[in-house]
Symmetry: C2
Subunit: 243 residues, 2 copies
């Protein structure tokens, strides 16, 4: 399969870079083709501005969804956005490799979603969730934290990690991805032994990644016109509601 | 009191700007002093790079926390970061006014936290949560969404809004803020009537904001050395665990 690793760390010698390189070599050894979007090295802009678009549908009022839809129809995205769209279109599996800063992905990763998950390409005209534009592809967050896994558990200092990553995972599902459970490397500053253990755990997981069952999300049609889960249905365990 | 509104929308005619202006006039009418950080207008950088620092503690390896701590000690932050630090230091109450994009604040808001919530100023040397550097100040997220409030409820399409905003609220608490429940203006694209209703609700809330009880968060000392809530304590209702 074609694998895109979206990598976001400003330091080339970071442990995130080691995880990126391990994923690349492990997946290539299994015969997959791997490409990397190195957001910092590409100087990828995080903020949604007029710079995302080569022309303006409405120069007097920046309606972001409106300009994104217009740019999708007219091949009007800035080159760095078009390159990411093309990379996602090419990929069967997208890994987002980043540290957790302030209990979520860094701004540059949020900006990648804000600017690249555009209507037409990823959703719209009734296509979302299981019918989203990226349906049939898989995605996974691979993150690092500087605390224990216990700290990111339901009774931990910071709460359950999957609940914390719900916004990012829900975004991935909204556009159609089958979303795999996040991988998390804990205590990245503590010792080489812990880091080596994380590398081993990640390699083992990646070796069997094609057989993994994605997280459960409700189908869009499980919700009524009132935006509520239809009576009798239980909220998904992958949401923070049951965490 | 001194109120800082951190405002993040690229369109000056956006409804977020209307909410910002309403907060300013409402709070000023009550005798408060209001300043605004207009992140887009200030061209505030969202990404953590060497550009945040006027010198390098370690030019060979970018350890972000290490460089931030060094810059705090040496007055070594770039001007735009120092300005935000000074504004927060001045404020008794910080409102973050932004849209929800992809189920969270825009990248520019995440970048504001990534770059401005620095050790020394906001945490460190055993100071965090109730003893954090910003203890005694209050903060609140004020957000807009383009769906119904039902969609952002526990049984809604996107799940409970407070659970979704847990990462941002936990970040605000980590650095010491007393965190007020977020304000949310729904269906911002639907009709002038809905927007007017939101403005009225926001004005009413702000008029009584000084008397509000903050969200409950556990004290740092409620957790053991194992990073887990001590036996017998119940997870906070303001965390997604009970949402």
């Amino acid at each position: 399969m074609n694998v895109l690793i979206v990598y976001a760390h400003p330091e080339p010698k970071s442990f995130n870079a080691a995880l990126r390189d391990l994923a690349k070599s492990t997946l290539e050894a299994k015969g997959h083709v791997v490409r990397i979007s190195d957001l910092y090295a590409q100087d990828f802009e995080a903020r949604v501005t007029r710079g995302a678009f080569r022309s303006a549908k409405d120069p007097d009022m920046l309606n972001i969804i409106g300009e994104q839809a217009h740019a999708w129809k007219t091949d009007g995205f800035a080159a760095e956005i078009k390159a990411e769209i093309d990379a996602i279109a090419w990929a069967d599996f997208v890994i987002v490799q980043c540290p957790i800063w302030w209990f979520g992905p860094p701004a540059i990763v949020k900006g990648w979603m804000d600017r690249v998950f555009v209507p037409g390409f990823t959703y719209g005209r009734g296509k979302w969730f299981e019918t989203g534009g990226l349906a049939g592809k898989r995605a996974m967050l691979s993150v690092t934290v500087d605390a224990s896994l216990a700290a990111y558990s339901a009774r931990g200092r910071y709460g359950d990690l999957d609940a914390m990553l719900w916004p990012a995972n829900l975004s991935l599902r909204f556009v159609g991805f089958d979303v795999l459970k996040p991988f998390c490397a804990p205590k990245v500053s503590e010792s080489p032994e812990i880091r080596r253990h994380s590398l081993e755990a990640y390699a083992a997981r990646l070796a069997a990644i094609e057989g993994e069952t994605p997280l459960f999300f409700h189908a869009a049609s499980d919700y009524g016109d009132d935006d509520l889960l239809k009576p009798g249905l239980k909220p998904a365990a992958s949401s923070p509601r049951d965490a």
